[in-house]
């Protein structure tokens, strides 16, 4: 039996992780730490039998856990992950790993010293379409890869996501890392140059809601990434997208990882909802984490992957303030 705890329900995915874990074999959610009971109220049935703590440190002290999933707001990741590492727990941390690369490096160093597993929530890597894409690329079916046009659009998540202190930034902080991680994994290459434009246009926020990144990779592929919270909150059929258009000399690969598979036009709701088969990715990611704890498999995305992705984010913000290209 693998005993797990969840720290904080601040991140939007925490309830879904709870749901996935509840259905997994030989996995037991022993405890949840969340200071704000309001965040847990809607999930009371799923939390039956789970020990609830207001202070995660108390939970770490009192509960014998094999691993912890950290779903706190971005700026809180550092402190929590370091405390978890010091209590020798395996850690799965929400993205982005932290809000500053200096913090991320500290987290990595301490996790290494404590021999604590540190995984980052990059579920998109587990997409089957992406596995096929990687095979196609490595078989040279696309020829030489020239460029990738990518998007990770979203709706504005609300709450602390618009708070610079807690989130570390806006749409760019929120939606750069998934695609950056995917491209690093797909091409087995690193990012070398970053340029970005940002704007606050759609909402009244102290952070950017529009972000457009122009990037270069070590394999000479150039990339654009649209991170904008440009999907209307009420009227748009789906939360957003992750799409990659990969241009090669011999072919073009178009990946739409959350396609509008089922279109539901509801009279009652008065709107069109598009449904995509995306729940599976979180489950597979959690299974990978649990598998790594049990030493049955290796972690797919680890702390270093988290750091590399955050480096691109930090460079993007530097590019915006200096109006220049930033070399990594």
């Amino acid at each position: 039996m693998t005993d797990l705890g969840i720290i904080s329900f601040e991140h939007v995915h925490a309830p879904h992780y709870l749901e996935c874990l509840a259905r997994m074999d030989a996995v037991h959610i022993k405890a949840v730490a969340e200071a704000d009971s309001e965040r847990l109220r809607a999930h009371t049935p799923q939390l039956a039998g789970v020990a609830i703590y207001e202070d995660y440190r108390e939970m770490l002290q009192k509960e014998a856990l094999d691993g912890v999933i950290v779903c706190a707001a971005n700026a809180r990741h550092k402190e929590i992950v370091i405390d978890c590492a010091r209590s020798k727990k395996a850690i799965l941390c929400e993205k982005p790993i932290a809000t500053r690369t200096a913090d991320a490096r500290e987290m990595l160093a301490i996790c290494q010293a404590q021999e604590s597993l540190l995984g980052i929530c990059f579920p998109v890597r587990f997409s089957e379409a992406l596995q096929r894409a990687k095979r196609l690329i490595h078989e040279k079916s696309l020829g030489k890869i020239v460029a990738a046009k990518t998007t990770n659009h979203g709706t504005m998540p609300g709450g602390w996501f618009g708070d610079r202190q807690l989130a570390g930034g806006g749409a760019i902080m929120d939606h750069t890392v998934h695609v950056v991680d995917v491209l690093r994994w797909l091409f087995e290459a690193e990012f070398t140059r970053v340029f970005a434009h940002a704007a606050t246009r759609i909402y009244d926020l102290p952070v950017e809601d529009c972000g457009l990144l122009s990037l270069e990779m070590s394999n000479e592929v150039f990339v654009t990434l649209d991170t904008s919270w440009s999907r209307p909150n009420r009227s748009f059929p789906i939360w957003g997208d992750v799409s990659l258009s990969i241009i090669g000399t011999e072919g073009i690969l178009e990946l739409d990882l959350f396609p509008w598979t089922i279109n539901h036009y509801s009279e009652e709701a008065g709107k069109h909802t598009a449904i995509s088969n995306d729940g599976d990715l979180n489950r597979v990611m959690l299974e990978n984490f649990v598998g790594a704890i049990r030493k049955e498999t290796t972690l797919s995305a680890d702390g270093l992957d988290g750091l590399r992705a955050l480096e691109v984010v930090e460079a993007a913000y530097e590019s915006i303030s200096t109006r220049s290209v930033v070399a990594l």
């Binding site: 970005a196 434009h197 759609i202 972000g211 440009s230 999907r231 009227s235 241009i247």
Partner: protein, 331 residues
């Protein structure tokens, strides 16, 4: 393009085509026959003939300056294909040639006559989507052909000018001036048979624009897409999804090199090429200002030049409108 516009023109009442010019007489003859015109391989007869009111200039970009000069000297109305200028030097020359020219001059920025693009622009200008946040424009076609003049950037300007000038013009026409451009492109040269560019533009208004231009897509294919997001909603158009007519031959046929670029299929009634040339004729007859002013067309070229500079140097480039012609220049 000459054939397409010629045919569209010949359908307008009261318009007749007098001459068809091509450097290769045989080519001129094919079209001249269809349009009941005289085929010539010299331009002088056209400019010398007082019965000719207007000239339609569809020559490759790099050959046009002298023709435009001759047209102005012989006081013909001018319809000129896009892009108007190949580079900054040519833009300055053309600006001086056309400055203060009182005859009708219209440039073939045909996207302004596509129903979809007109609709999208109207929705934006009406305020229905609120404050514009992001603009995504895409134009993807196949490589024009092994030996085509399009693929020689010294003759066509390459993909950022020849292909993306359509979307750049739409961007300026709808959303105002650009502030800063960062572009990336790959032309593999003849060996790779592709060209592809991605532009990251900050508008003066603060909105962000992403432009994709491709000559890397399947030969014979055509796709144009638009996405505009704002504080009150989002607009999308995808020519691939919106098609009311989809015909796919299933026999296998070889693809031969050609110097043509795939154009969207349109019915006669909704043909934007018919609409633009009708607009030109209407402007001549009724002394109106054309929908596409040559200064606007040059501005679109300027932005393309900035993109090319950015891609070459790997740096962002600020926009400064710098064309001469507004004041007298001593030569």
């Amino acid at each position: 393009m000459g054939a397409r516009l010629g045919k569209a023109l010949s359908q307008i009442a009261g318009v007749s085509i007098g001459y068809v010019y091509s450097r290769q007489l045989a080519r001129a003859q094919v079209l001249a026959q269809q349009l009941h015109a005289v085929a010539v391989d010299q331009v002088e007869p056209i400019f010398a003939d007082p019965r000719v009111d207007a000239v339609i200039v569809c020559l490759p970009t790099y050959t046009r300056t002298q023709i435009l000069k001759a047209a102005v000297q012989s006081e013909k109305h001018i319809f000129c294909e896009k892009p108007l200028a190949l580079n900054a030097a040519m833009a300055r020359e053309i600006s001086l040639i056309l400055d203060r020219y009182s005859r009708c001059v219209m440039i073939g920025q045909v996207l302004r006559f596509f129903w979809e693009y007109i609709q999208l622009r109207e929705k934006v200008l009406s305020g229905e989507i609120g404050t514009v946040g992001t603009i995504r424009l895409s134009r993807c076609v196949g490589y024009p052909g092994r030996d085509s003049w399009f693929t020689d950037p010294t003759k066509s300007g390459g993909i950022m000018l020849d292909l993306l000038v359509h979307d750049i013009d739409f961007l300026l026409w709808t959303f105002g001036d650009v502030a800063q451009v960062f572009a990336q492109s790959a032309s593999g040269g003849a060996a790779d048979l592709l060209d592809y560019a991605l532009l990251n533009i900050q508008m003066q208004s603060g909105a962000l624009a992403h432009l994709e231009g491709s000559w890397a897509h399947p030969v014979g294919s055509f796709r144009q897409t638009v996405e505009i997001s704002g504080s009150l909603g989002l607009l999308e158009f995808d020519s691939q999804l919106a098609s009311d007519f989809r015909w796919t031959p299933t026999h296998k046929s070889g693809l031969s090199p050609s110097s043509r670029i795939a154009l969207p299929e349109v019915g006669a009634r909704s043909d934007p090429y018919c609409a633009e040339i009708s607009c030109f004729v209407d402007c001549i007859r009724n002394h109106k200002s054309p929908v596409v002013l040559w200064r606007e067309a040059l501005k679109a070229c300027e932005v393309a030049f900035l993109a090319m500079e950015s891609a070459k140097l790997g740096i962002p480039v600020l926009y400064k409108h710098e064309l001469p012609g507004r004041k007298r220049e001593t030569s």
